[in-house]
């Protein structure tokens, strides 16, 4: 009996020591140049994990990046992203003209565009696509990106025009707006020929059409479509009410939005405002071309593998839910000769360690961004297949500015001053400290303003001024007994990295201000609901990644009131943004945007924390795939290099 006791422990002991042996030389081993096996795939097929199972193959439906990358294989747009910096490059549009204030865009389509079933692509396909994307019936969550197009917002919001029954005239917006912005050139009655001088590439100017003249007339007034909302508005504005009385309400239709097929291969977009960044937005999934005939035939099931018709460099071959989505090169694609890969296999996966394991054994060639788990970074970031470029994304804290004590800007500033962001970035390893609200070093030429640096002295002083004196204790620590801790909390959605960040911030405030802010974690959807409805007190985790490559994608978070989850809104800020976007000179515009950004960070409804990094890995034999700031990859450029001497050693350069 006595000697059997050690033997009882033999088996578990063995297992444990075996496990620890393998742990010690598992992903932790630091000997190799690359992370895991480097064996190029036999076939000319790229294997990639783009994230979880796609919600839908209908481009305007899914909001996420994982789907965006699949759409980029299957669907083409007027423009495509430049693989290095995501700036727009010609795709189905060969070239384009932009009017002087960036409020009207004329695209000249290539004539060899074809659908995967061989049908030719022309401007009417784009008209259909754009109308569909903003239609209220489709109810795309991304539709707001198209709101710059004239009357698109009104159409999407089911608004109505007001028409005089007798004369057929519509009421105009400018007659009812106080301090209205000047009309963009796209709404001014000028002839096209005057606007666009004839270039060498074309024999005659683009024709002026009745629709174009309609677009070039002053903006019509639009009112809410629902009677309840409309009456409420009319009650508050007696002048409007009198003007509307006895008039007809005409629903805004898809045909009214500023999208026109001038002829078979010329598409014209008229915007409601100058939007210099709009061209860059057109590679977004919302604007990628969808097949009218197929959609009208199959309705919601048009994306079923048996029905789907596509127009991208690849077409759908096989889709097994939660297992694989396989695309193959489409010979019909206009640029098929320059598509390198025979196909791409997308594997839907969500568990980061599992994805990294698959990468390590060499069953996939690259992974999506943010996949390397925190605990693995120490090892993986030293490898030559680790991608560590900056991302067009930021982490920040939102502050509910509606309730005391956080409604006092001094208190908000104090909490900002009390965080050592440089130390945070050092500890987190893969982020860059941030004091402003746009990611740092992402937008070339943008004079990003500088916010307040770490300054605990100033933080304590500000808190004192706000009525919460910070006392220095005998042991060198601080305390702030008068601060109402019960009215402040820090909420975040349950996730390892969010927890780490919350605890770090909590420790900073404890150390520098002597205030311990309680942390509260929540399930993701619950968190979003609480944050959106401003049902939290104090701080909440925030993150944002760019929709397009312009600082406005960040600054516009506070463009409409309350959307930001902070409760902060300021007409002066909105006016500053409007002024910037009306500015034709890009340099001047950037300066004005920077001024607005400075105004925003001075008001401190947010505490900027860091600029993210892309944080993914790819095998060295994968070429033409760059760690660009949006982690979006135009697949036609990607190829598998068999010649070892041409492999990427380290992060491929973005500047060549």
């Amino acid at each position: 009996m006595r000697n059997s006791i050690p033997k009882r422990l033999v088996a578990p002991g063995l297992l444990l020591s075996l496990a620890s042996f393998f742990f010690s030389c598992g992903p932790g081993s630091g000997r190799d140049e690359y992370f895991g096996r480097i064996v190029p795939p036999q076939a000319n097929i790229f294997r990639y994990v783009t994230g979880d199972e796609p919600q839908s193959l209908d481009p305007p439906i899914s909001l996420g990046q994982p789907e965006a990358r699949i759409y980029m294989a299957l669907f083409d747009g007027l423009v495509e992203y430049n693989p290095k910096d995501l700036s727009p490059i010609p795709s189905l549009a060969e070239r384009w003209d932009i009017n002087q204030d960036s409020s009207e865009f004329t695209f000249h389509l290539r004539q060899n565009g074809r659908w995967s079933n061989g049908d030719p692509i022309d401007a009417n396909d784009f008209v259909y696509t754009f109308r569909r994307s903003v239609s209220p019936e489709l109810a795309s969550g991304n539709a707001y990106l198209a709101y710059y197009i004239k009357y698109a917002q009104a159409y999407n919001e089911k608004a109505v025009f007001v028409r005089d029954h007798a004369t057929g005239q519509y009421l105009l917006a400018k007659d009812f707006q106080k301090d209205a912005a000047p009309e963009p050139l796209s709404s001014k009655p000028d002839a096209v020929s005057a606007e666009y001088p004839v270039t060498a590439a074309e024999a005659k100017p683009d024709s002026d059409t009745p629709f174009h003249q309609l677009m070039h007339s002053p903006m019509r007034l639009t009112l809410p479509g629902s009677e309840k909302a409309r009456n409420k508005l009319l009650e508050s504005d007696s002048k409007l009410k009198a003007a509307v009385a006895g008039k007809d309400f005409v629903p805004v239709k898809g045909e009214d939005i500023g999208v026109e097929a001038v002829d078979k291969y010329v598409l014209r977009l008229s915007l409601a405002q100058p939007a210099p960044f709009f061209l860059g937005l057109l590679a977004h999934q919302l604007f990628r071309l969808v097949p009218r005939k197929t959609i009208e035939q199959y309705g919601e099931h048009w994306t079923d593998p048996d029905h789907i018709v596509t127009c991208g460099p690849f077409k759908l071959k096989e889709w097994v839910a939660y297992n694989k989505l396989i695309v193959q090169r489409d010979p019909m694609f206009w640029d098929a000769a320059n598509v390198h890969l025979d196909g791409i296999e997308f594997y839907p996966m969500a568990d980061n360690p599992s994805i990294m394991n698959l990468y390590k054994v060499g069953e996939i060639d690259a992974v999506l961004n943010h996949t390397v788990p925190n605990a693995w970074l120490e090892v993986v970031r030293t490898k030559k297949d680790y991608m560590d470029a900056k991302e067009a994304a930021i982490d920040y804290l939102q502050i509910n500015v509606l309730h005391p004590p956080m409604n006092d800007v001094r208190v908000r500033k104090a909490f900002n001053y009390a965080i050592d962001k440089v130390a945070w970035a050092t500890w987190r390893k893969i982020v860059k400290p941030l004091t402003a609200f746009s990611p740092e070093g992402i937008f070339p030429g943008y004079p990003q303003p500088k916010g307040d640096d770490f300054n605990p002295e100033r933080a304590r002083q500000l808190l004192g001024e706000a009525g919460f004196p910070v006392i220095k204790n005998g042991d060198g620590s601080y305390s702030c007994p008068s601060f109402p801790v019960k009215d402040v909390e820090y909420i975040y959605n349950t996730q390892e990295s969010n927890k780490a960040m919350a605890e770090w911030m909590q420790a900073q405030w404890k150390q520098n201000l002597g205030i311990t802010i309680p942390l509260r974690n929540m399930e993701s959807k619950t968190f979003l609901a609480v944050r959106t409805k401003l049902e939290y007190k104090g701080f909440s985790r925030g993150g944002w990644s760019a929709d397009y490559m312009d600082p406005f994608t960040f600054l516009s978070l506070f463009y409409t009131g309350g959307d930001s989850g902070t409760g902060w809104q300021d007409p002066k800020y909105i006016a500053m943004l409007d002024e910037a976007n009306r500015t034709l000179d890009q340099k001047k515009r950037y300066e004005l945007l920077a001024k607005a950004e400075k105004y925003l960070i001075d008001a401190q409804p947010v505490i900027p924390i860091d600029t993210s990094s892309v944080n993914w890995v790819k095998k060295p034999y994968v070429k033409g795939m760059y760690p660009n700031p949006g982690s979006l990859f135009p697949w036609k450029f990607v190829y598998i290099e068999r010649d070892r001497s041409k492999w990427d050693i380290g992060t491929p350069s973005l500047s060549d």
Partner: protein
């Protein structure tokens, strides 16, 4: 017996309806919507979505519509997250994977668990008994989200013998690690249950009688003792199989299997109401049927049980 079965089946229907109703209510109570994301939608767009999916209707209309479709057409509707995909199709598609892996895991567990437990009981207090029971204790205590990665680390990342994840059908090496990981805890339970059951039976009068009749030890064990000794395993099998058939979230996540469990957890997190209701109803039905099956098996194994 037949009357018993019919009665039990009839009770199933109201039970399922109650389960569906409670699920329906719970999803409504949970904060957030299927369309809420990091980027807040403008109110007009939110309204468009709510109108499109009938969420602007009064709750009793929504409830009525859901119940009508389920009762009248056995149709759970279309998923809100996976746009346009029918819930029935999703279940039909992912069930074979979950069920197949589950059944294989359980068969493996029986195949190893029963002999190990039986031998441990027959050789009580021997080295074999102690060491096998220690290992099974370990099997029960190590959760599968720990065991899975350890096995992956050994057999995939270090030895490169087996793929670390993904699904390639039942006849591929991809299936080995998930099945082994999943079966470990059941194997351990079954071994311990078998041992306990056997020990009790081996001391009973009818075994003594069998031995007194002069039957060989093999006959005593296999024909008499095992039959009684397995009763605890049988009652354990019902709920265990129901659980295994409908997929296990952890295993499917770690090994990226296209099974029902994966959908279930995602559907709940996404507030995908039709999909959650569909899967919950399906799991409830499976559970009730499995328990019925267990009761029937009882009657077969133990002559004293009569319905």
């Amino acid at each position: 017996m037949l009357r018993f079965i019919i009665k039990r089946l009839l009770v199933t229907i109201p039970t399922i309806l109650v389960v569906i109703t409670i699920t329906w209510g719970l999803i409504r109570l949970a904060p957030g919507n299927f369309y809420s994301g990091e980027k807040r939608l403008p109110p007009a767009i939110e309204k468009n979505i709510r109108e499109k999916y009938g969420l602007d209707k009064p709750w009793y209309q929504q409830y009525g519509r859901t119940m009508w479709n389920i009762l009248r057409h056995q149709d759970f509707g279309t998923s809100l997250n996976f746009r346009g995909q029918s819930v029935n199709v999703i279940i039909r598609r992912s069930l074979p994977v979950s069920a197949g892996v589950g059944i294989l895991a359980y068969l493996l567990a029986l195949l190893i668990g029963i002999p190990v437990g039986s031998i441990a009981a027959l050789k009580q207090n021997s080295r074999w008994d102690y060491s096998s029971m220690a290992v099974t204790m370990l099997g029960i205590s190590i959760p599968n989200f720990v065991l899975g990665p350890i096995l992956v680390m050994i057999f995939s990342l270090s030895l490169y013998w087996l793929p670390p994840s993904r699904w390639n059908g039942f006849f591929s090496s991809n299936i080995i690690l998930p099945v082994v990981t999943l079966s470990a805890v059941y194997m351990a339970y079954i071994a311990r249950l078998t041992r306990a059951g056997m020990l009790e039976v081996l001391r009973s009068d009818y075994i003594r009688t069998a031995r007194a009749k002069g039957l060989s030890e093999k006959d005593v064990v296999i024909r008499h003792a095992l039959r009684g000794g397995l009763m605890p395993v049988v009652s354990y099998t019902g709920p265990a199989l129901a659980f295994l058939l409908t997929g296990t979230v952890v295993i499917e996540k770690i090994f990226a299997l296209p099974g029902l469990g994966n959908y279930f957890i995602q559907a709940s997190l996404n507030r995908d109401e039709p999909l959650v209701i569909g899967i919950v109803a399906f799991i409830a039905i499976t559970l009730l049927l499995m328990n019925l099956l267990v009761d029937i098996t009882y009657a077969y194994l133990d002559p004293r049980v009569r319905y």
